[in-house]
Amino acid sequence: MIESIVGSLNAGSKYIIPLLLVGIPMYAITIRKVKVYEVFVEGAKDGFTIAVRIIPYLVAILVAVGMFRASGALDLLLNFLAPALSLIGFPPENLPLAMMRPLSGSGSLGLLTDLVNEHGADSLYAKIGATMFGSSETTFYVLAVYFGSVGLTRSRHALIAGLTADAVGALSAVYICKLMLG
């Protein structure tokens, strides 16, 4: 049952973008008589300014994240946290990925690949890891890009809320996988 749902969802998802690219202009030109080419170009103009506006924010965040990853501070933190977390049933194998997920998309994908290579895709570690990866986002990157695009520097409670949600997401991934697949 689930296999067929997943199969058809994944098969269907490749049609969504082409359908949107054609469907939206089609509705506009036939029903609303919108001058689609002119309007498209008008909207597309903003692409450049927004992308350029993000640069300083992204430099700030990615440099700090990059330094943090390179310094080995994460490993020190892992050694410190792993014993405490294994007390509540959180496997130490999955901790690096859980901590990397909000920091770096490519970094966490690399760690997931390691889990699969080391333990096999059928292992509970890999399944927990894949669930963590799929159920969360690169919080620091999203914050820099979204808030940077409009020049916000005062983010208020955004980061705290985002990181708490990441932590709950990671814990849920562990317990849900243990419950459903363990």
Binding site: I31, F40, M67, A73, S136, V150, L152, R154, A161
Partner: protein, 196 residues
């Protein structure tokens, strides 16, 4: 908040780098990542232009307003400060739909469009509004219902087993994000006046 975290991350990195003997790697990472940041931003230009163009058509044809109206019962609770028929609501809904379907490429431009429209309603341009924080938190907690293609490729046949677990975990994190935002936005230290 971000001031302390940003500085803290760099300070910890330098101290830890000295301890672990990886200070060269720390330096390299700083220089390298500043380049990567620019490459990512510049790389966004084309895809941003494409989706912003399509979005403008959707807006001009009234599609955005139709979508915004349809999901009014939900959005009015999540974003009480945003008028229900404001274009920002349409962009927010489209961004979330793109995220749910795993269309990351489309989601970012739609999300940035939503941010721009939310910024129009913002009286204090350097400080995030409640609606902006809510929108961001929902985005960072991920609302994906399709397992990402990279994960499917990596997991092979086991990918179908993590379909439901991913949905449940993402639900847990999104609900947490919404509750946290609603709780914290009332706290004095996170108020717009004291914002940092």
């Amino acid at each position: 908040m971000l001031n302390y975290i940003w500085f803290g991350m760099m300070a910890i990195s330098v101290v830890a780098g000295i301890f672990t003997g990886r200070i060269d790697a720390v330096t390299d990472a700083a220089i390298n990542m500043s380049k990567v940041a620019v490459e990512i931003s510049i790389g966004l230009i084309g895809i941003m232009a494409l989706w912003l163009g399509i979005m403008k058509i959707a807006e001009a044809s009234g599609l955005i307003r139709i979508i915004a109206r349809g999901l009014k019962p939900i959005t009015i609770r999540l974003f009480p400060d945003v008028p229900a028929d404001h274009p920002a609501i349409g962009s927010i809904v489209l961004n979330m739909s793109a995220n749910m379907l795993g269309l990351g490429n489309a989601a970012t431009p739609l999300g940035l469009k939503a941010m721009e429209e939310l910024q129009e309603l913002n009286p204090k341009k350097d400080t995030a509004t409640n609606a902006m924080v809510m929108f961001l938190a929902i985005n960072t907690s991920s609302v994906q219902i399709i397992v990402p293609a990279t994960v499917v490729a990596l997991m092979g046949a086991a990918a179908s087993q993590i379909f439901l677990t991913t949905i449940f975990a993402t639900l847990a994190s999104t609900i947490t994000a919404i509750i946290m935002v609603k709780l914290l936005e009332k706290m004095k230290r996170f108020s717009v006046e004291n914002a940092s």
